[in-house]
Symmetry: C2
Subunit: 112 residues, 2 copies
């Protein structure tokens, strides 16, 4: 796991908000999630990632990855191994998900 | 808890990504978190909210609230009761947090 919360980045940059519900069982999910985190970190324009998943019910989870540009987001979305993981995600791991691509305009921290 | 994932909204709209680590214990946190969710939902321009918090360690959590406009985000940030909750959050509930305000440009779902 990377730094949490992810640090301040120079605005503007991009956030990909991935909100999902999990199907029961692992079925290869954990290993692929870890691999995708490593792979994302090796991509051009990658800035960081944050993840949280509740333990209850359908395990609502939110992963936000941060990218320098919209082009970096598009490049990651089309990366070959990531496309395979996305297909498995649709077929096996998620009962529902939504992806939102957003341009971060302001960024502030606390409680300092 | 509202619908999860939150539904599609008409782009562009705004996301406030709040990533935090919790201090140990509740100390009024749960009741205020629920009250803030209700209060936010009554504010002009509110669209929806998603939350996930992992159970391990410092309990990394991500809450993303969605708003129609940047003005609605600013209005919520300055709401009086919310200002009190923000102060308590800094003083008691969070060991670290970061807030990012982002304009959502694209929004797509799955696995359908």
């Amino acid at each position: 796991m990377s730094e949490f919360p992810a640090p301040r980045f120079e605005t503007p940059y991009y956030a990909v908000i991935f909100s999902s519900l999990r199907t029961p069982g692992d079925d290869g999910y954990g290993a692929t999630a870890q691999r995708m985190e490593e792979l994302a970190a090796s991509m051009p324009g990658y800035l960081g990632v944050e993840s949280a998943r509740s333990a209850d019910g359908d395990q609502p989870g939110i992963t936000v990855s941060y990218w320098a540009t919209a082009e970096a987001v598009a490049h990651w979305r089309r990366q070959a191994e990531h496309l395979v993981a996305q297909r498995h995600g649709r077929q096996r791991w998620y009962s529902a998900y939504r992806v939102r691509v957003a341009k971060v305009e302001r960024d502030y921290d606390g409680p300092n």
